[in-house]
């Protein structure tokens, strides 16, 4: 921000000011323009980096249609698209209550992973020995419980000793990864550390293998929307997020809210872990959460912590992911390339938020005087 001294206004070349009101039409126009611009830049980068494209510039159309092809060309891809949205959304939803309270839970990855581990541990020891329905219920309980424990540990430390939750939750991710490695050594005596798909503990297919997962997460999104916006708990979370002092003043026990909310956040990550374990993999590896605990943070931010808006942001991210993977396949380029594509587009999208919230003024431009005054205020 510019510093403006009294009577001695030195005009900077560029000056920023926060917009007082955001026009939604304008905001969406900027967002769409950003995505289009991002796609154009992706095309240029692709043209420079992909040999096949460089030799055949006419294939640039295939480059762009790959984004559609990646998710919509077959019904299998479409179901996969919906399922991927659901799992990512589940992790993002899990993080949202914590974020609303300004508790920076970046341990979603570890909380999800221990959820998978908890469910698979039950499956490993009890699979085939008890009825499948009971197994699925016990796996569910184990996943939610382990996720909740992983979430509440940093919350307890924060409430008791004021530790930094960002670092704490981050480190818990690594502990979770090594815990999985540890159990794989015990469970796989052959030494390969690869458990493989277990025979039991699979969620039933209702028409489609992925439909149940999708329905569970849709129900969760609606429930969480209501919880955060229309219940006393949701209100308390918001107050603690706005100002801990205000919370204390109005008699909210903020420590209790933090602990309660992190139990919820961790348990919901555990639920995501359960969906991965029982709905998809029936195994656990150190990669079972697949980075979604981190991607989920972005989904939640982009969706402004609104569970319903997050459905859209999760869909956007998965559309980009599957499109980029399709490009890697169609143009036979190395695995890092999809990340470059997704990164460029996200850069533009996140960048566009800046232009939505701030106004840019150039030196000598009209309106600078007023903007300067605003900045002083």
């Amino acid at each position: 921000m510019s510093t403006v001294k009294k009577n001695e206004v030195r005009e900077p070349l560029i000056h920023l000011s926060k917009r007082t009101s955001v026009n939604p039409v304008r905001a969406w126009a900027i967002r769409i323009a950003a995505i289009v611009l991002g796609l154009i830049v992706c095309g240029l980068v692709a043209f420079l980096l992909i040999e096949k494209l460089n030799a055949h510039p006419e294939k640039i159309g295939d480059f762009y249609t790959a984004f559609i092809k990646g998710s919509f060309s077959t019904s299998r891809k479409f179901w996969k698209f919906l399922k991927n949205i659901a799992i990512l959304l589940c992790v993002s939803l899990a993080l949202t209550p914590a974020f609303r309270m300004r508790f920076w839970n970046i341990g979603g990855e570890g909380q999800t992973l221990v959820g998978v581990l908890g469910a698979i541990a039950v499956d490993f020891y009890l699979g085939g020995k008890i009825p499948e329905w009971l197994l699925l219920i016990l796996m569910f309980i184990a996943a939610l419980l382990t996720g909740a424990v992983w979430g509440v540990i940093p919350a307890l430390f924060r409430a008791k000793w004021g530790t930094n939750e960002t670092l704490f939750t981050l480190m818990m991710n690594y502990v979770a990864t090594f815990l999985v490695s540890y159990f794989l050594v015990i469970w796989v005596p052959s030494g390969s550390s690869s458990l493989g798909k277990l025979k039991y503990g699979k969620l039933p297919s209702i028409g489609n293998d992925y439909l149940l997962i999708i329905l569970i997460v849709v129900a969760l999104a609606v429930a969480l929307y209501i919880y955060l916006n229309y219940t006393k708990h949701g209100y308390e979370i918001n107050v603690v997020g706005e100002s801990v002092r205000t919370a204390q003043y109005v008699g909210i026990n903020e420590k209790k809210v933090i602990i309660r909310t992190m139990i919820l956040s961790g348990a919901l990550c555990g639920l995501a872990g359960y969906l991965i374990a029982a709905g998809l993999d029936q195994t656990v590896t150190t990669e079972s959460a697949g980075g979604q605990g981190f991607t989920g943070i972005m989904v939640a931010w982009l969706g402004k912590f609104n569970p319903l808006a997050m459905i859209l942001t999760a869909a956007l991210i998965q559309l980009l992911n599957q499109g980029a993977a399709q490009i890697s396949q169609d143009f036979d380029v190395s695995g890092a390339f999809p990340n470059v594509i997704v990164g460029i587009i996200l850069f533009f999208i996140i960048g566009s938020e800046f232009f939505i919230n701030y106004e840019i003024h150039f030196r000598g431009h009209h309106g600078l005087a007023e903007a300067g005054k605003e900045a002083v205020k």
Binding site: G191, K197, D281
Partner: protein
């Protein structure tokens, strides 16, 4: 009469055409899908990419006849990827990582008309699906050869009076205490022992197939413990770099590291997957079944050694390797030779019988007698290695993995 004859002939023609179609797939219609755990950045996956590209070039396949999916985890994603490749018209789907196996099996059960081939897996011979196949290579022969080069180098050091300890000692950086690794380091050790009888070896595990920092640290620890030579079964440049820094000779894996380590790199063994890709495509074109378990050998061109780096290797290495290789090709030499007295012993006793865990079961029970006719029959009852005996002369420094 003529008409009837013409009709019969036409019908016969149609039938033979139909039969030919049912038999095989025309070469220009072949589509091969390849699922990789990582991408070019991993030497392991790069080895498969090179293999499939070499095979495609040798067979004259066009670019769009091979579809590669990179970075597919060992999860439901692998199953999805396999079926997606089938949707795209692939008649053969291949996956390269051990943990892909159960998910490939799941896909194979759903698509009986597509052949699913899996490298390093162990379950094809017990699952008995007509369209699911395992493959590996007798890399232990390659490692034995590499071990011979190592043994010659140790002899040279010994003659020059530059041994660090009383007897020649090799250090080995391993990934996991898994049969594939055990089989690998034991064959390397035996190769060295065949020319340098008093050699001993110490093995340090890292608990990861790719961890540059850990591998470098393990190699450094082994060098500090008195290793005269280092080799590894892990996929990074960690161990070779540590050797170059310390001036300790190194026998590498997966590919030559001579460019980064010109003073210490001796030779490396690797599996060449191109012959297998050529084989499975060839079988599909001919309309013939793919072997349930396929083990590539030196003879099939699957087990390869890189060029020997004369600067680091002992004199006469190239000639000796050619001689031993010829014995393998002729079938007169067995790596796991249990007949020669004092060559393979466990707790000072000769290895006359061993039950290996060949058939995968949840409890990992040993099930098959593999010692017969004076040698351990590695990779014969299934393609993936199952030699996991801790023989005398090799000390494991850590076994937590």
């Amino acid at each position: 009469m003529k008409k009837v004859l013409a009709l019969v002939l036409a019908l016969a023609l149609c039938l033979t055409a139909f039969a030919a179609m049912a038999d095989g797939v025309a070469k220009e219609d072949i589509k091969l899908g390849v699922i990789l755990l990582h991408d070019e950045d991993s030497t392991y996956d790069l080895n498969f990419i090179n293999g499939v590209k070499d095979a495609a070039a040798a067979l004259g396949l066009s670019d769009d006849q091979v579809i590669i999916k990179r970075n597919i985890p060992e999860s439901n994603d692998c199953y999805e990827a396999a079926l997606d490749l089938a949707d795209e018209g692939c008649q053969i789907v291949f996956a390269d990582s051990f943990g892909h196996e159960t998910f490939m099996l799941q896909a194979a059960k759903e698509k009986p008309e597509v052949d699913f081939c899996h490298a390093t897996g162990t379950m094809a011979h017990t699952e008995k699906l007509a369209n699911f196949h395992n493959a590996f290579a007798a890399i232990y022969e390659g490692r034995y050869l590499a071990g011979v080069a190592a043994g010659l180098k140790l002899n040279e050091i010994k003659e020059a009076g530059k041994l660090k300890g009383e007897v020649p000692m090799m250090g080995y950086v391993g990934a996991f205490t898994y049969a594939e690794v055990v089989s690998g380091y034991t064959s390397f050790y035996l190769g060295a022992k065949s020319v340098c009888p008093d050699v001993i070896m110490k093995v340090q595990f890292t608990g990861s197939w790719y961890d540059e920092k850990e591998e470098k640290a393990a190699a450094e620890a082994l060098i500090a413990a008195g290793a005269d030579l280092i080799s590894q079964h892990a996929d990074s440049m960690g161990a070779p770099t540590a050797c170059e820094n310390a001036g300790i000779p190194d026998v590498s894996y997966n590919g030559s590291t001579v460019e980064s380590c010109p003073n210490t790199f001796i030779v490396a063994s690797r599996i060449d997957w191109a012959p297998y890709f050529q084989y499975i495509i060839g079988q599909k074109v001919a309309g013939e079944a793919i072997d349930t378990d396929w083990t590539g050998t030196i003879a099939t061109g699957s087990v390869k050694l890189t060029d020997v780096n004369e600067q680091a290797a002992a004199a006469g290495t190239v000639e000796k390797l050619a001689e031993v290789k010829a014995q393998f090709e002729a079938g007169t030499l067995k790596v796991f030779d249990t007949a020669t007295e004092g060559f393979i012993t466990k707790d000072k006793a000769p290895l006359t019988s061993y039950l290996a865990d060949v058939d995968t079961d949840p409890a990992y029970t040993p099930d098959t007698e593999v010692v017969a006719d004076g040698y351990f029959h590695e990779s014969e009852f299934r393609s993936a290695p199952y030699f996991d005996v801790n023989i005398d002369g090799i000390e494991l420094l850590n076994t937590a993995f």
